[in-house]
């Protein structure tokens, strides 16, 4: 394994971490459109909270996908063709929720507004769940042949472990979204988000424990890397505890950072367990490895230079755009 290969393995982990941290809360907010926000006016505020940001957040996914294609084409090819149906459903979900915000705002009848609100809600739920399911199934090991083609059947990737993984990511995104609402709004919505999280966090804890237990039985993570895997699982729980503490003590930033880092911990857990592989095969001989799945040294070198010169500039204006919209949005007045 060369250092460039290692850098890119880490960078892809970083990009997915960014994606889950950022899109995590806008998935969460998207889920809240129908149940949490009770009136049209409240939905306007809830959607507006992510309005200027969701598109930029999704670019983290597109960048992660592009970076994977560029640096580990074999990984990209195996993963994307192997999880065809899951990714197809993810795409459908992302499309529905993606257009829902703009379309909803321009609908004239209640029926159609309702339709796009449901599109946002269901699309966000499905996207978060399916991403969780995909990554969980990926680390559990899949049937991969000599050519690197994955030939998984439905029940290879839909099972108790992957469903728990999907639900865990969904609930994590949901509480992260609520923590974001607590930061971005004032009044009724802010208080309601706090109240919801008081109930949801115990559910999340249960989910995390169940996930950790299944992780032990369904993957080789604890067997191969007992120390780091345990440490990251503990970190995940600690971040969730901190976020919960922030809920109980009403520290909004602490909660938001805590739930964001919980999501990041999940990505770190996955990438740490994968290393030095990129795809886990049922037959260990066919697992794809970092060292034989990557692009040429020339391409990796080039991409490294470009990534490290462009990314800092991107981060500057990306963070600035959040700064521009730092102000809280007022909850609509009751009975308005």
């Amino acid at each position: 394994m060369t250092s460039y290969q290692l850098i890119w393995f880490i960078l892809i982990g970083v990009l997915f971490s960014g994606f889950f941290f950022l899109e995590g809360f806008d998935f969460g907010v998207g889920m809240l459109v129908k149940s949490f926000a009770k009136t049209e006016a409240e939905r306007d505020v809830v959607i507006r909270s992510i309005g200027p940001h969701w598109d930029g957040n999704e670019v983290w996914l597109i960048t992660a996908g592009g970076a994977m294609f560029a640096s580990f084409p074999m990984w990209y090819a195996t993963l994307f063709s192997g999880f065809y149906l899951v990714l197809f459903l993810i795409l459908a979900a992302l499309i529905f929720r993606g257009v829902s915000f703009e379309f909803r705002a321009n609908m004239q009848t209640a029926t159609w507004r309702n339709f796009w609100e449901w599109a946002s809600t269901i699309g966000s739920f499905c996207a978060a769940f399916l991403f969780g399911m995909l990554f969980t199934a990926m680390i559990a090991g899949m049937p991969i042949d000599k050519n690197g083609d994955m030939t998984a059947h439905f029940f290879d990737y839909v099972n108790l472990f992957s469903i728990v993984g999907g639900v865990a990511v969904t609930v994590l995104s949901l509480v992260h979204g609520l923590n974001f609402i607590r930061l971005k709004t004032s009044g009724e919505l802010r208080e309601r988000a706090l109240a919801w999280n008081k109930i949801l966090y115990p559910v999340l804890f249960a989910g995390e424990v169940l996930f950790a237990i299944l992780l032990y039985f369904s993957t080789d993570f604890f067997a191969k890397k007992p120390l780091t895997t345990t440490a990251i699982v503990v970190a995940l729980v600690i971040f969730t505890c901190l976020a919960y503490w922030g809920v109980l003590g009403n520290h909004e930033w602490l909660s938001f950072i805590g739930s964001g880092l919980s999501l990041v911990s999940v990505v770190v857990l996955i990438f740490n367990g994968l290393f030095p592989r990129v795809m886990v095969a049922n037959n260990p001989a066919y697992s794809l490895l970092i060292k034989n799945s990557s692009s040429s040294p020339y391409t990796l070198h080039l991409m490294t230079i470009l990534a490290f010169s462009i990314l800092p500039i991107v981060l500057v204006y990306f963070i600035w755009s959040y700064w521009v919209f730092y102000k809280r949005l007022a909850s609509p007045k009751q009975n308005a």
Partner: protein, 483 residues
């Protein structure tokens, strides 16, 4: 399962065609609208004329609809290389991945971030800064076109690579060569100019329909003027860049060029150009044609003499060149009728756009009322708003069908590129669902644009901009409270 005679290759090709065509309805429309809106807002910043601000906001609405659909259909594009074309991805990853990743990193972040800034900050920044945002969106989206076309250009004309002897995959040896590919520098201007033309003529067409109803005459006449000036400049630009691009094919992709001109047999020195023709694809011959002498040579070489190889000759040459590696059962003929007619639609429309723009600008002179009386012209203009979408599709038909049987010219055939592990059932399902979603989104787009147009520019108020027409407006200035 029923045997419908469907195979993964056919379904994957159909899906690529369908998703790309649909995505590319919105890409040029969005890039072009970003440019036209940026020009309008700049004129507002310079002149301080509120009409231009209203124009930027009004046409900006259509831009936002288009952008939303463009973004979500774009994700399919990125994912489907891995999903449907895994062998292609393995073969080409070393070269194709890099531009795609840079596109996301350098271009998508820029456009998505600044579009959010532009949408929601009309009342928060001074007009120059706000104008800068839309220019950055426009710059970002053009940059994304550059990177993805760099990848496409490699597929049309591979440069800067070697074949790795161990893996058999392409390997980049010179990023400079990938970027300086002549194919790219004729394709990129053509696509960008085409995008500007697309937006111009959609705006001009919409304005024409409203002028026919004598609605907001000043507003729509001003819009028409901006659109037609841009439309004229860039339809001429499209024609010029298209000319460069098509002549570049004579040596690089002779089969594509011959099919565009419907030449089965080698042309004679007289340069007879078929204006219209009929073809027998099975017998590889032209059944009838209406020919004009010398035009072929004028188009190909900008002079009256010279000859062009016909498809039958080229077919033999390609067999001689590639049979050793790929076997002799590959069909090198491209879909002649598709290319021939697509080329005529595209170039004919290019000329029509330039003509319409000139006539329109003449009728729409400031002091003249001519445009209001020439209702026939407004009808034509109004109908032509659909034409750019047909033309863009025709252009891609030529580029992509003309590369048959290659996915990477001379290096990888389409048949070898497809994912071997994806089932017909999966592909059929995704095709049907995508089709239904596209039909739905396309319909919503048309309804929204139509409704926006009917509601007119005055329904706008800046504070609620992009907020939608809710009763209670949480986006107004008062909605921000300092915590």
């Amino acid at each position: 399962m029923l045997n419908l005679g469907l195979d993964i290759l056919g379904l994957a090709r159909f899906q690529f065609g369908m998703t790309t065509v649909f995505h590319f309805f919105f890409v040029p429309f969005s890039i072009g609208l970003a440019f036209v809106v940026a020009v309008m807002e700049t004129m507002y910043a310079i002149k301080g004329d509120e009409d231009y601000k209203k124009m930027a906001q009004f046409w900006g609405k259509m831009f936002l609809y288009s952008f939303a659909v463009g973004v979500v259909t774009g994700i399919i594009q990125e994912f489907q290389f891995g999903m449907n074309w895994s062998e292609y991805s393995r073969f080409m990853g070393d070269i194709f991945g890099a531009p795609l990743a840079i596109e996301a990193l350098a271009a998508f972040f820029m456009e998505s971030t600044f579009i959010g800034m532009w949408m929601f900050t009309w009342d928060r920044f001074n007009k120059w800064v706000h104008t800068l945002f839309i220019w950055l969106v426009m710059f970002g989206s053009s940059l994304s076109a550059l990177w993805i076309l760099a990848a496409n250009s490699f597929m049309q004309n591979p440069l800067g690579y070697i074949i790795n002897q161990q893996t058999g995959h392409v390997q980049m040896v010179s990023f400079g060569a990938v970027l300086s590919n002549p194919q790219l520098w004729s394709e990129f201007p053509h696509v960008i100019f085409g995008a500007f033309v697309t937006a111009s003529f959609v705006i001009a067409g919409c304005a024409a329909w409203r002028l026919l109803k004598k609605d907001h005459v000043t507003f729509y006449r001003k819009s028409l003027n901006v659109a037609l000036v841009i439309g004229l400049i860039f339809s001429l630009g499209s024609i010029a860049s298209g000319d460069i691009q098509s002549r570049y094919l004579i040596n690089n992709q002779p089969m594509k060029f011959a099919a565009m001109e419907g030449l089965y047999k080698d042309s004679t020195n007289k340069g007879e150009w078929s204006m219209v023709a009929g073809f027998d694809n099975k017998q590889h011959k032209t059944t009838w044609s209406v020919d004009v002498p010398y035009v072929l040579n004028l188009l190909s070489y900008h002079k009256t003499t010279g000859t062009i190889k016909g498809m039958n000759t080229i077919n033999k040459e390609l067999h001689a060149k590639y049979d050793k590696k790929y076997g002799n059962d590959i069909n090198y003929y491209v879909p002649t009728k598709t290319l021939f007619w697509s080329f005529r639609i595209m170039s004919g429309a290019g000329a029509l756009f330039a003509l319409l723009a000139i006539v329109g600008l003449f009728f729409n002179r400031k002091k003249s009322q001519l445009i209001m009386n020439q209702r026939w012209f407004l009808y034509i203009m109004g109908l032509c708003l659909w034409l750019p979408f047909v033309v863009n599709t025709a252009g891609w038909f030529i580029t992509e069908f003309g590369r048959y049987p290659w996915v990477v010219y001379g290096l990888l055939t389409i048949a070898d590129a497809v994912s071997p592990n994806v089932s017909v059932a999966s592909l059929l399902t995704s095709n049907i669902v995508y089709f239904l979603m596209f039909a739905g989104m396309g319909l919503v787009m048309i309804v929204l644009c139509h409704r926006t147009l009917k509601a007119g520019p005055d329904t706008e108020n800046t504070d609620g901009y992009a907020a939608g027409d809710t009763d209670l407006d949480p986006y107004s200035k008062g909605a921000f409270n300092h915590d």
